[in-house]
């Protein structure tokens, strides 16, 4: 089949762009282990009030110094609030939702996940700088979405 010279150039250019974009996703995923903070861990969102971990949420320190923070998001608050964690220690956030989809972003950092009812989103973050951080819900969740703000205190 005869393909015009210029057409050939554009076809290869388009193919190179697709390869570049796919590479930009796949290479960090493989080399830097970047992946969405959703692993398939499920629970019953209607029974969250009786859940041993998420009924009150909380900050628990393991024997090796790492910290697990369990957060339940619901309309229109994060539980617990405020959250207090140590600086320079790996903090594992475990986040779920009691009702609709919420967001969980520690503003100014790259700690960012969705809180999906029925699922646990998990991510590990180390905060180097002590201070007060804002936790923002960044998924529209209802009429008071804009007031759904929590506080993270890093000491």
């Amino acid at each position: 089949m005869n393909i015009d010279f210029y057409e050939r150039i554009w076809m290869w250019a388009a193919a190179a762009l697709v390869a570049m974009f796919l590479g930009a996703i796949l290479i960090p995923a493989a080399v830097q282990a970047i992946h969405p903070p959703s692993h398939v861990e499920t629970l019953d969102p209607t029974k969250l009030a009786e859940h041993p971990e998420f009924a009150t949420g909380g900050v628990n320190t393991r024997s090796d110094g790492s910290v697990v923070v369990s957060v339940a998001a619901s309309m229109f608050a994060f539980t617990p609030n405020p959250i207090e964690v140590p600086a320079n220690a790996p903090i594992t956030f475990r986040i779920t939702s009691a009702d609709v989809i919420h967001g969980f972003q520690v503003v100014g950092t790259n700690a960012n996940a969705m809180a999906i009812p029925g699922y646990v989103s998990q991510m590990t973050v180390t905060f180097a700088t002590p201070g007060r951080y804002i936790i923002a819900c960044h998924e529209y969740c209802g009429l008071f979405h804009h007031e759904m703000v929590g506080t993270l205190i890093v000491r």
């Binding site: 960090p28 830097q32 282990a33 970047i34 992946h35 969405p36 903070p37 959703s38 692993h39 790996p90 594992t92 009702d99 609709v100 989809i101 520690v106 503003v107 100014g108 950092t109 790259n110 700690a111 960012n112 996940a113 969705m114 999906i116 009812p117 029925g118 699922y119 989103s121 998990q122 991510m123 590990t124 973050v125 180390t126 905060f127 180097a128 700088t129 201070g131 951080y133 804002i134 923002a136 998924e139 529209y140 969740c141 209802g142 009429l143 008071f144 979405h145 804009h146 007031e147 703000v149």
Partner: protein, 270 residues
């Protein structure tokens, strides 16, 4: 006798009408956020207008405008459109769907934004209306493809007109993109909003699953844990840039809020 572009003009007419309503909604949205004494400002007005603006601009306006443009291009480049009657049927379905969805939004029954992530629930007619718009666009795609095939039979060996090449690529992408949406809306959201099924899995909805990917550079626990920690050391608030969310914007005045709190407190003690 209808003009040669009547079908196209009808689509673009609906698109422009949706654009007009959406623009007005945009103004209301700004007024319900701005720091001025706008008497009707409220959370529900803000999010209702945000939904209407998004749905009418991003979904209705674009879809109808592209359908109209497609008919113009097909008519001009291919000489004729095969299946005009089906085109009018699609136009009727799509317009009825857009109107139904718009009415439920404007009545405040479908304040779910144009992303409509479940389990945030809209009125059933919102989902049915959205489905009708998509079905209309599928019929439109089939008409363009049929018109192209008819043209091809009469013009063997001729190169495809460039606008038609682009149009066919658009239609292929559109079919790919809307298939998942149609499965979500018809298979999950419509039965759920009508109460036929009790609960749905928000993770299965394409909107919800595509978002964590866009929210990516979160580095979760993983085999590359040490690298994770060193990268995360850089996580700190940037003092140079004041956070937009630093002081949550209040939609209600403090006085109104205080009054509300006081009212609920006295109700509780009573």
């Amino acid at each position: 006798m209808a003009g040669k572009h009547t079908l196209a003009a009808s689509h673009i007419g609906v698109a422009v009408a949706a654009f007009g309503v959406a623009s007005f909604m945009g103004v209301l949205q700004a007024l319900s956020m701005a720091d001025i004494a706008f008497p009707w400002r409220s959370e529900s007005l803000y999010y209702m207008t945000l939904t209407a603006h998004g749905v009418l601009m991003a979904l209705v306006f674009t879809t109808f405008f592209i359908m109209g443009l497609g008919y113009v291009l097909a008519r001009e480049c291919l000489g004729r459109i095969v299946g005009q009657a089906a085109g009018w049927l699609a136009f009727g379905l799509g317009t009825a769907g857009a109107a139904a969805a718009a009415v439920t939004i404007l009545r405040g029954q479908s304040t779910v934004l144009y992303t409509f992530y479940p389990p945030l629930q809209a009125h059933p007619l919102f989902y049915i209306g959205a489905t009708l718009i998509v079905v209309a666009s599928w019929i439109w795609g089939a008409i363009i493809i049929a018109s192209f095939r008819a043209w091809r039979r009469e013009h063997r060996g001729e190169p495809i007109p460039l606008p038609i090449h682009g149009l066919l690529a658009t239609i292929i992408l559109w079919y790919l993109a809307t298939t998942g949406l149609a499965i979500e809306v018809v298979g999950m959201l419509i039965p759920w909003s009508l109460g036929w099924v009790e609960k749905i899995d928000p993770m299965v909805a394409p909107g919800a699953t595509s978002r964590p990917i866009s929210d990516a550079p979160v580095i979760s626990r993983s085999r590359a844990k040490r690298r994770t920690v060193t990268r995360m050391r850089h996580a700190r608030p940037s003092p140079s840039r004041p956070h937009r969310l630093g002081r949550p914007r209040r939609l209600q005045s403090t006085r109104r809020r205080r009054r509300r709190t006081r009212a609920s407190r006295s109700a509780r003690s009573a």
